[in-house]
Symmetry: C2
């Protein structure tokens, strides 16, 4: 049988250097665990724009549609701020999400024991934190039409975007959330602004419908998104799985990520419908951005990207056992005090570079 | 000369009981400081719906347009969850904001020394925190058309809302932010999602325009709203004034409010254009909601509503001196350990009811 295929898109900023470490980890799984992948690599974001004048070449898009999973580093940088909206680096990522129809974005917000002191929150509020945010990723205001900037009637301009959700779009991401909850603590909290937005009213009703008709055994609650932001700060451990729309999910998952104090640690998975081989369309990427300020200096923390590969093992390749091995190894390396610059707290530790962290993880595997 | 006029709308839940304490404070300023107001009272939210079948009667709306300032308690409650969207308690508040054209919502997030331990964040992260969020309040996705729930083509439904901002709408709220910054630490950070939304691109360009043409001496930066949520959690003291749109402002200001750990303390002012007498159209309300779970039990903290009256003294009646007196008095009462239930931490304090807190503040004034 052919090896499963992986398309690697390092992207911009620290993307390439963290991806170098991920490739070493992938190679290790091939050499030591017999898990071989056919790996190809291509450009996305500013890197693609620099070469092709577009943040995602059609050929790359076609490849992404064919492989078993895509692994992405990060996109964007100040160099591209002047570009027209339509060719900004982010458009490459958004096109991948949309055309692969990756509707369920899984963003775990987990606090690592060895790093709990690192959060700006009190230790007892975040120690042991383990929540999963499921963000709708292919619709809502990110993609709704009409959109654009037009002249208005007073000689000025008007900027327009459209939030738009259908029954099917809401139900399918709700199902992803309920399925995850069943394998966790059986609780889903859905967030919207149903008190202000009709699209939020529909969201609430359809999530409730999926619950009542398909997952009555899972505990479901609803919360306004503004209160959700408050509750995440006040007492994040009250949550298990949170399901929310594309825009609220963008903000709330970043808020949740920062609670853990270690953004450089957090992976994400974006999943679509099953392909012919039964695997979901999938793209894995760290939650952190391209961090142009430290790019190319060997300072970046590769763990978020490495743990994104662990999510690929679990969700694309049904190797939860190997994913758990990799995650446990990362925890051990942290417990041993190995620290990239972003993880260096007042208690100190063993300072390492990007590749030094890769070395430590490979040694511990 | 006639006394300035105040319309009091206690609303729902704990609204009436906290407003009772505010009225005692207002009376004190009349008796002891010669600051007399013509006070009238009316219904809003669920309370108005119960009596009139609408969350804001036209007569109340007309009164609000005529007075010098409106003071509102809170609206909403589970009892009204079943109501149609168009008559939900929140619609009363939104109608006031829209028809009075209260475009600049000022939400201070301040950490009171006596309560710094109360935050879920580490003390050094929040002690001394003093930021001002300026939220656009009359436009954006809260009010844009088209909106509603319609049948879709697959036998399901589609929920639609429209984000819409014009040059004028953005410029006027940006001016409010720059004016405030001049009287504070001279820094404005504008937040949007210009990497994803065209309305965000326009937002960024127009804020920059106001800066370059009218306030070049104020320091301006731009941040994506998801990063804004992160930075608020990571290091909120980096900010002075934040300006953002209606929806981002709703979420980010609640996030910022919760950083302080004392939501029951935070007031807000919603300001519009100057009236004939030079005073801005204005509505003042606490940031907290109607808290139906504790309503009617004398447990609510009246301070946020009392400090909203302090904001009225400052922004509507040009009595910054008396506002500062009232604010200092509240700080003193807190320093003395007087605590409503929501402020009671592990170090204890003198437990008081809603009216007990009113007593303490009046005694200290
Ligand atoms: C880079 C950007 C387009 C993206 C988003 O807004 O979705 C990012 O913030 C994210 O959360 O993945
Ligand atoms: C009650 C609700 C309509 C309101 C809003 O969403 O604006 C509230 O959350 C607020 O922030 O004042």
């Amino acid at each position: 049988m052919a090896n499963p295929s992986l398309l690697i898109l390092p992207g911009d900023g620290i993307g390439p250097e963290v991806m170098t470490e991920v490739r070493r980890v992938i190679d290790w799984f091939g050499a030591k665990r017999g898990l071989n992948f056919d790996v190809s690599e291509d450009l996305v974001g500013g890197a693609a724009y620099d070469k092709y004048g577009t943040p995602l070449h059609d050929d790359t898009m076609a490849k992404a549609q064919e492989v078993d999973a895509v692994l992405l580093g990060a996109v964007g940088g100040p160099k591209y701020d002047v570009l027209d909206f339509s060719v900004k680096p982010e458009r490459g990522l958004l096109r991948l999400r949309k055309e692969m129809d990756l509707y369920a974005n899984l963003r775990p917000a987990q606090c690592f024991d060895a790093l709990a002191d690192f959060s700006s929150l009190k230790k007892d509020v975040v120690a042991g934190l383990d929540i999963m945010i499921v963000r709708e990723l292919t619709s809502g205001i990110y993609f709704g039409e009409p959109r654009g900037i037009y002249p208005d009637n007073e000689g000025g301009r008007v900027g327009v975007n459209t939030q738009r959700y259908t029954t099917d779009e809401i139900r399918r991401v709700a199902r992803s959330a309920f399925e995850l909850a069943k394998r966790r603590n059986n609780k889903v909290c859905s967030m919207e602004k149903a008190n202000v937005m009709e699209s939020g009213v529909l969201w609430r009703e359809e999530v409730q419908w999926v619950h009542d008709n398909e997952y009555p055994e899972v505990e479901l609650s609803h919360m306004y998104a503004d209160n959700g932001a408050m509750q995440l700060v006040r007492n994040p451990k009250q949550f298990d799985v949170i399901v929310t729309d594309n825009l609220f999910g963008d903000i709330l998952s970043d808020c949740a990520a920062m609670l853990t104090g270690s953004l450089g640690m957090l992976p994400s998975a974006s999943l679509g419908a099953p392909m012919a081989n039964g695997r979901p369309k999938a793209l894995y990427e760290p939650v952190h951005g391209s961090a142009p300020d430290i790019a190319g200096q060997g300072k970046a923390n590769p763990i978020a990207c490495i743990l994104s590969f662990a999510m690929a093992l679990r969700y694309s390749f049904d190797r939860g056992d190997e994913a758990a091995r990799l995650e446990a190894t990362v925890e051990k390396v942290l417990a041993d005090g190995v620290r990239t610059a972003d993880l260096m707290g007042p208690e100190g530790g063993v300072p390492v570079s990007t590749s030094g962290m890769g070395d430590a993880i490979l040694a511990a595997l």
